[in-house]
Structure formats: structure tokens, C-alpha cells
């Protein structure tokens, strides 16, 4: 009886091809744990093209499953992570990588923390200089000295 209900639920689960927010739980990890670790790390860097707010590691979309299998295949075939990434970029473009590439077009992006920080600092120091009171003239400095001396004596 229980087996039948499990089977029924299983069938029901399989029928629906709607958007899946279920967790991806995987079928066949690679035999070599080191290679599997490389593959898993790679999967975390690749954006799912269907559920576009997840990596292929997290997504349960069909395409994500296929891509995971592909990544595992290529890793076990000896590709380096860079080669696997290049393979996918050749087909889907830079979009498929969660980390934006560092090239001419993204220079401003990667430099923005430093650039903006620099600009803000420049702005702040400029504003400070403008609002700082004028330094005392020699006459004023002498007057101040006299006043302070007088104050200390009292």
C-alpha cells in the first residue's frame, strides 16, 4: 500500500513540468572526489539560463541538469575550469558566467569601488577645504597669543 502511494506521488511529481523551485539533487557525482569538487565549484559559477536567478548548481531546471552533466563530463575528460567556462561562453556568451569577465568593457565595473571611493574622497576634501575657516593672519595670531596669555594669568 505504501509503495503504491509513493509510486503515485512519484508519478504525480514527474508529470508536472512547471517551473521548479525544488532543490536540485543530483544523480551521478563523479567517481573521483577531487574532480567532483572541481565540477561542483564550476557549477556554482555558471548561471542558469532558465531560472535566471540561480546557478546551475542550485537550479532544478532541465537545462541546468543537462549543463551539470556536461560540466562533469568535461571535467572528467580533463578540461581545466577555464576551458569549461570557455566552452560555455562560446555557446551562450559571457552572460552565462556569474562573475563578469575582466575586459575592456567591464573595466569600469571592476574598478568602480576604487574609482567611486576616490571621487567621493576628493569631493569630501574639496568641500572641507572650502568650508574651512581662513587661517589666521600674523597680526591675528599675535593677538590670540596675547589673549591666551592674559587668560592663563587670571
Amino acid at each position: 500500500m505504501r509503495a503504491a502511494s509513493i509510486a503515485l506521488v512519484f508519478l504525480v511529481t514527474m508529470t508536472f513540468s512547471g517551473v521548479a523551485f525544488a532543490v536540485a539533487v543530483d544523480e551521478k557525482p563523479l567517481v573521483d572526489p577531487a574532480q567532483e569538487a572541481v565540477a561542483r565549484a564550476l557549477m556554482k559559477e555558471i548561471r542558469c539560463l532558465v531560472c535566471q536567478n540561480q546557478s546551475i548548481e542550485d537550479s532544478n531546471a532541465d537545462l541546468a541538469k543537462d549543463l551539470r552533466r556536461l560540466v562533469r563530463e568535461r571535467v572528467s575528460a580533463g578540461d581545466t575550469p577555464a576551458e569549461v567556462r570557455a566552452f560555455l561562453v562560446a555557446r551562450y556568451g559571457d552572460w552565462v558566467l556569474l562573475e563578469p569577465p575582466l575586459n575592456q568593457m567591464t573595466l569600469f565595473l571592476w574598478g568602480s569601488p576604487f574609482l567611486i571611493l576616490l571621487l567621493v574622497l576628493v569631493g569630501v576634501t574639496t568641500a572641507r577645504k572650502k568650508s574651512a575657516p581662513e587661517p589666521l593672519s600674523r597680526m591675528e595670531k599675535a593677538k590670540l597669543k596675547k589673549l591666551l596669555k592674559a587668560g592663563e594669568q587670571t
Partner: protein, 705 residues
């Protein structure tokens, strides 16, 4: 009938808002105080009418009135009542109704609670709020009317996304919206100040409680959203730097900066243009978020349905509000005379540094969020700016902030003594270095960043502890600590709690990201798996029928060294309407970390795909966030925050003299500090080295919180 009443109420609300946006300016031009006072009445009227409209919509949802097209599109008779209610705002039109409800609520609160504000200023603020309401009401009535009817009415609704049928997610939007919309008050204050042409320390004192309240809700709303993602989406992730998540983070950063810079305006009468700009920018970020979800320019899980007409309308609305206020700023900024001088090492400078780093971070998040769009517009190429970039930026910018955070509260106003502060903080430095080395040694791969993160987290926590100790001498003389502690202003406790919360969050993030253990396995009933030192045994898998779903539930027994810890029951659910497949993770929080189990697909021959995690210290995230929100609330409850004039004794070397303000007077011009060449040394706070006999704390150190 009821929806028509709601519809009509909206239209009348529009008329009242138009009046409320125009009349106060006319009244001020004519100097007519009675007309000015009407602004408050308009605010109450708007709130009443919008409440009626919102109530009508809610009624339609609760009674499953599918003749209202919005209800038919987004509700279902099989939904539990709570989710029928939360379904009201779980769609584009309804969420806009929530926006205007909260907006009019805040206007009414300003009208009611802003009695300490001068009448003229209050009228201006309410006029700006009304103008905002006009824009939103127009948007709703012209493009997104929730009260449209369907004829013939369908028998059943289209149901709501089952992901949204969740308590965490039922409360996440209202919290966030209170945060977003609360920033409109700061915005209105800023615009009113620009129109008036001056910003005084009093202005800062008035604006802070509203900003703080909005900030608390924004913090709670963001944390709730993250927590929901953590337990609902099933892989233990809680932040993806999704455009709409960023759109909630940017106003949070701006609001945090605003809170801190308004302290400087209040205490030192400096940083005025900057603070005004921040108030405008913070609310602009809120509006940007509203735009991004509804315009279809960016793809996001949060996005509502795309409609170009709506997108253009919101864009125009945003252009008027943001463009208008920034143009006003550019025009009037010269009138905000800068004043207040402070040395490079002082509490003001620490707060300026805080602002610089937070503002830069907000700007970088904006750049990262919009970069793909800009690049595509310019070039046609599509890239993704994902978590790696944002994490890089966060590390670069937030690390110096955390270091400075330790020093800031220990520096005096105007001219601080960094070596003294450093002496006090030396134990914290030592402790964090120790933790750094331990974490490097613990993780043989030597993840330096993990060590840095842990060191910074502990640094901040210990810095807060040491700062409290300085004020209450807990370590030197523990007896009487509570008495001395109670004497400290609540704002100090709020600040310390919030900062400590941040340190805890940092620790939790660093540790859980670095040392989560996970196992993806095919398990049969009876199998055991060891994760993070805990053994998970799959006891059985049962089918389950819920109110609107069927599911498979796994029963895990978790033990540690043979001792029973808990049972976990993760589910894999299948909803029928709309067809969707979700997971409910089985989570058990321990102090050490969370036990997290997920059941996936049936893999044949009695084996199930499962994912098991041990996530160390992840609860620190939620704990730290609650500390931050709680700290904000404690600060808010400090009476000094909420009344117009400072209470308590005057102290030497204290803030410039803030006079009590009679009701209808204009805010006085701030005094300029002129010569600063050889100011007298700031009086050091009394060192509580000897036991204090008196029951009252003598000279509590004035704080900036």
C-alpha cells in the same frame, strides 16, 4: 458594491491629495496659519479614504469575490485565510495599494506626531507627502486599478504562487514597504528644508526618529526575505544579489548613512548639504526599486508582470520626483551654509568615513545592478554581474568600515584622541588577531579572507564590549553595573546593540560560507550519512496531502555521538494550481549551526536523492539582524529622539546651544563657528576608576547615537 466604494474612495483621495499638495504652499505664501493647519486635516482625510479603499480590496479577497479581476487573477478559494489576506499585496496592483496605504499612514503620523514641528515647516512636509500620494494615486487609477470588474465572473481564481503561501513571505512585503515608504518622510523633510532654504540641527533632530523607524522596518524586512529564502528555497542560500534584492539593499545603505550623518548635523551643525542629498537619494532608491519590479527592464524573481505602458508611467513619475528634487537641491544647495569644523581625527570624521564608505558601497551596488542594462544599451552585449562582483565590492569597502566602527564611538567630538581610543581597544585587536590565526590554522587551505572576516567580526563585537565597559566600568568594578548601565541613555544601548549585531552577522556569514558541510547522496530507507559530525538516518518516506498540495515527506533522525538531537521532516511538494514543485527543508537550529535536510527526487530502486547540510553559525545572521532592529527600536524609544528640545543638564564642551522652539516660529539660523585655531582641549569624560558612591550616574558620556 464594496469594490465600487473602494474605487470611489480612491478617486476622492486623489482630489484630497491634490488639495493637500497645493494648498499649504499657497497658505505659506500668504502667511495664513489657519490654512497651513489644514494640511494636517488633508493628511487625515487621505489616510481615511485610502484605508477605505484598501479595506474594500481586502474584503473582496477575503470573500473571494472573483468578479473583481484582481482577485480572480491572484486568489483562490482553497487558500487559507492568512494567504488570502497576504495575497492582497502579492501582486502588482495590490502592492501599489499597500504602498499608498502606508504612504498616507505616514503622512497622518507626521500630521499627528509632528506637533513639535513649526507649523509652517510641517505644512510644507505634508504638502510634499501629498504630492507623492498624488503621483501614486494617478498611477493606480490610470494604469493599475485593482477594482476593475470581470464580467462574467469566473467561478474560481487563478490561485497564488504557492511559494508566496508562507508566513515569512506574508510579512516580508509589509515590513519592507514600511521601510521604503518611511523614507519618504525623510525625503519630504529634505525637500521642505530645501524650499525653506535652511537646515538646522533641529531639522536633523526631527528627521531622525522617522528615518530610524523606517530603517528598523527595512532591516527587518530584508532579514525576513533572506530568512524566507533560506528555509524555503532549499539550498541554504539567503542572498543572490538579484536586482530587486539590491534595490532593497541600496535604500538600506543610504538610510544607514543618513542616520549617521544626521547625527553630525544635529550635534555639530555640519554636513548639511550631504545629509539633505542622502535623504533624497535614500527615497529615490526606494522608488527605483518600485520601478525595477514593474517596468520589465530587468529580469528578477520578484518582477511583476511586464507592461510597457506602466513602465513608462513610473519612469515619468520617477523623473519628476527624483529629477525635481535633485534639481531643487542643485539650485538651493548654496543656501545651506556649511559650518562646523572638526579635525581629521574626531567622531565627526569617523562618521564622515562611515558615510563615505556606505555611500560608495551603495553607488557600487547601483553600478553593478545597472551595468548589464547599460552595457546592453550601449553595445548590445549581455553580461551577468553576479555575486562574485558584489562580494568583492563588499569586502573592499566594508572591511575598513568595520575597523573604523570600532574606533568611532570612542572618539570625542571635534577633536578625538586616536591613541587613547587605540589603548582602550587594544584587547579587541589582540583577540581578533588570535581568532584570525586560529581560523587560518583550522582551515588548512588557509583562506585568508575567512580569517579576515572572522577577525573583523570579533573585533567589532569586542570593540562594542570595551566601549560599554569604558562607560560603565564593568570589568573594573562589576558591582553596580546595572545601575550605571541604566543611567546610560537608551540611544547608546541602541547603538551598541546594533553595532554588535553587525559584528555577529559578519561572523555568521564568514563562518557559514567557509565551513558549511554538505552531502548529496542517494539514500535508501535505513541509510545513514555523517555530516558535520551529525549522523542523519533516513527512517522513512511517506506521502502527505496538504490543503492544496500533495507531497513526499522524509523522516530523518539526527544524532550526535549516539545522542538523539532531533527529527527532521523535509518535504517535496507538488501544488496543483498553478502547477509547481517546491521543497520545504527540514531545519533544526543549534547554537553551533543549523542541521538542514532536503528531499529531492525518487531515484528508483527505493533510493531518494537527498541533500544534507551542516551550516555552522548561520543563526547568527538572524540573531544579528534582530539585534540591529532591536537596537534601532531601543534608540527610537529614547525620549531625546522624539521631543523637539534636548532635556537634561547642559554639559561643558557640549553641542552648540539649541534653543527651545515655540510652535509657530521659524527654525533659527544656525550659529557659525568661527575661529578654531586653538580651541580648548575637550574635557575628558570622567574615568570611572573609583567606585561611584552616588546612585545616579554623574556624567554620562555624551554619545552620538
Amino acid at each position: 458594491m464594496i469594490p465600487e466604494i473602494g474605487h470611489f474612495a480612491l478617486m476622492v483621495a486623489l482630489v484630497v491629495s491634490l488639495l493637500g499638495a497645493i494648498v499649504p504652499h499657497m497658505a505659506i505664501a500668504r502667511g495664513d496659519t489657519r490654512l497651513m493647519a489644514l494640511a494636517g486635516q488633508f493628511a487625515y482625510g487621505q489616510f481615511l479614504l485610502v484605508t477605505i479603499a484598501f479595506g474594500a480590496l481586502t474584503y473582496a479577497y477575503v470573500t473571494s469575490d472573483f468578479s473583481v479581476s484582481n482577485v480572480a487573477a491572484n486568489s483562490h478559494t482553497a487558500k487559507p485565510l492568512l494567504y488570502k489576506l497576504s495575497g492582497v499585496w502579492g501582486n502588482h496592483e495590490g502592492s501599489l495599494m499597500l504602498w499608498i496605504l502606508i504612504l498616507s499612514l505616514f503622512s497622518a503620523c507626521v500630521a499627528y506626531g509632528g506637533k513639535n514641528l513649526p507649523l509652517r515647516f510641517r505644512s510644507r512636509v505634508l504638502a510634499v507627502q501629498s504630492a507623492l500620494l498624488v503621483g501614486f494615486l494617478l498611477f493606480v487609477l490610470l494604469t493599475s486599478n485593482p477594482f476593475m470588474r470581470l464580467d462574467p465572473a469566473p467561478l474560481e481564481g487563478n490561485g497564488l504562487n504557492p511559494l508566496l503561501q508562507d508566513p515569512g513571505l506574508a510579512f516580508h512585503p509589509p515590513m519592507l514597504y514600511i521601510g521604503y515608504v518611511g523614507l519618504s518622510v525623510a525625503f519630504s523633510f529634505a525637500v521642505a528644508a530645501l524650499i525653506e532654504g535652511e537646515v538646522t540641527p533641529l531639522w536633523a533632530r526631527w528627521v531622525r526618529p522617522w528615518t530610524l523607524a523606517a530603517w528598523v522596518f527595512l532591516t527587518a524586512g530584508i532579514a525576513l526575505g533572506s530568512w524566507w529564502a533560506y528555509y524555503e528555497l532549499g539550498w541554504g542560500g539567503w542572498w543572490f544579489w538579484d536586482p530587486v534584492e539590491n534595490a532593497s539593499f541600496m535604500p538600506w545603505l543610504a538610510a544607514t548613512a543618513l542616520l549617521h550623518s544626521s547625527i553630525v548635523v544635529e550635534k555639530r551643525d555640519a554636513l548639511k548639504s550631504w545629509t539633505i542629498l542622502l535623504a533624497i537619494v535614500a527615497f529615490s532608491f526606494s522608488l527605483l526599486g518600485t520601478f525595477l519590479v514593474r517596468s520589465g527592464v530587468l529580469t528578477s524573481v520578484h518582477a511583476f508582470a511586464v507592461d510597457p505602458e506602466r513602465g513608462i508611467f513610473i519612469l515619468a513619475f520617477l523623473a519628476i520626483i527624483i529629477g525635481g528634487s535633485l534639481a531643487l537641491f542643485a539650485w538651493r544647495a548654496p543656501k545651506l551654509a556649511p559650518s562646523g569644523v572638526f579635525s581629521l581625527v574626531s567622531r565627526e570624521s569617523a562618521l564622515v568615513l562611515n558615510n563615505i564608505l556606505l555611500a560608495t558601497f551603495a553607488a557600487v551596488v547601483l553600478v553593478g545592478t545597472l551595468y548589464p542594462l547599460v552595457l546592453e544599451a550601449v553595445n548590445g552585449t549581455q553580461i551577468t554581474v553576479g555575486p562574485p562582483f558584489f562580494e568583492f565590492a563588499a569586502t573592499v569597502l566594508m572591511s575598513p568600515l568595520i575597523v573604523a566602527l570600532g574606533f568611532g564611538p570612542l572618539l570625542a567630538w571635534k577633536r578625538g584622541n586616536i591613541s587613547r581610543a587605540a589603548q582602550i581597544l587594544l584587547p579587541a585587536v589582540i583577540v581578533s588577531l588570535v581568532f584570525f590565526w586560529i581560523s587560518i590554522w583550522h582551515d588548512a587551505a588557509g583562506l585568508i579572507m575567512t580569517g579576515v572576516g572572522i577577525a573583523l567580526g570579533w573585533w567589532l563585537i569586542f570593540a562594542v564590549v570595551l566601549e560599554i565597559n569604558k562607560k560603565t566600568n564593568f570589568f573594573g568594578y562589576p558591582r553596580g553595573f546595572w545601575r550605571r548601565a541604566k543611567g546610560l541613555p537608551r540611544a547608546t544601548w541602541g547603538m551598541s546593540l546594533a553595532h554588535a549585531g553587525l559584528g555577529i552577522i559578519l561572523l555568521a556569514i564568514t563562518v557559514s560560507e567557509a565551513w558549511t558541510e554538505e552531502a548529496l547522496r542517494l539514500m535508501k530507507v535505513g541509510d545513514s550519512e555523517l555530516v558535520g559530525g551529525y549522523s542523519f538516518t533516513l527512517e522513512e518516506v511517506t506521502p502527505v496531502a496538504g490543503p492544496n498540495y500533495t507531497a513526499v515527506r522524509a523522516h530523518f533522525l539526527v544524532e550526535h555521538d549516539g545522542h538523539f538531537i532531533t527529527r527532521l521532516a523535509p518535504e517535496d511538494r507538488v501544488y496543483s494550481d498553478p502547477p509547481m514543485n517546491t521543497t520545504e527543508a527540514g531545519i533544526y537550529p543549534l547554537i553551533r549551526g543549523d542541521l538542514y535536510a532536503v528531499i529531492g527526487e525518487y531515484a528508483g530502486s527505493n533510493a531518494w536523492s537527498v541533500r544534507l547540510y551542516f551550516k555552522p553559525l548561520i543563526s547568527g545572521l538572524w540573531l544579528g539582524a534582530s539585534f540591529m532592529a532591536l537596537g534601532g527600536l531601543i534608540s527610537l524609544s529614547d525620549r531625546r529622539q522624539r521631543i523637539g528640545a534636548p532635556a537634561g543638564k547642559k554639559r561643558p564642551d557640549s553641542v552648540p546651544n539649541i534653543p527651545k522652539v515655540p510652535k509657530s516660529a521659524k527654525p533659527t539660523k544656525s550659529t557659525k563657528l568661527t575661529k578654531s585655531a586653538k580651541s580648548t582641549k575637550p574635557k575628558k569624560s570622567t574615568k570611572l576608576t573609583k567606585p561611584v558612591k552616588s546612585t545616579k550616574l554623574k556624567k554620562p558620556e555624551k554619545t552620538g547615537a
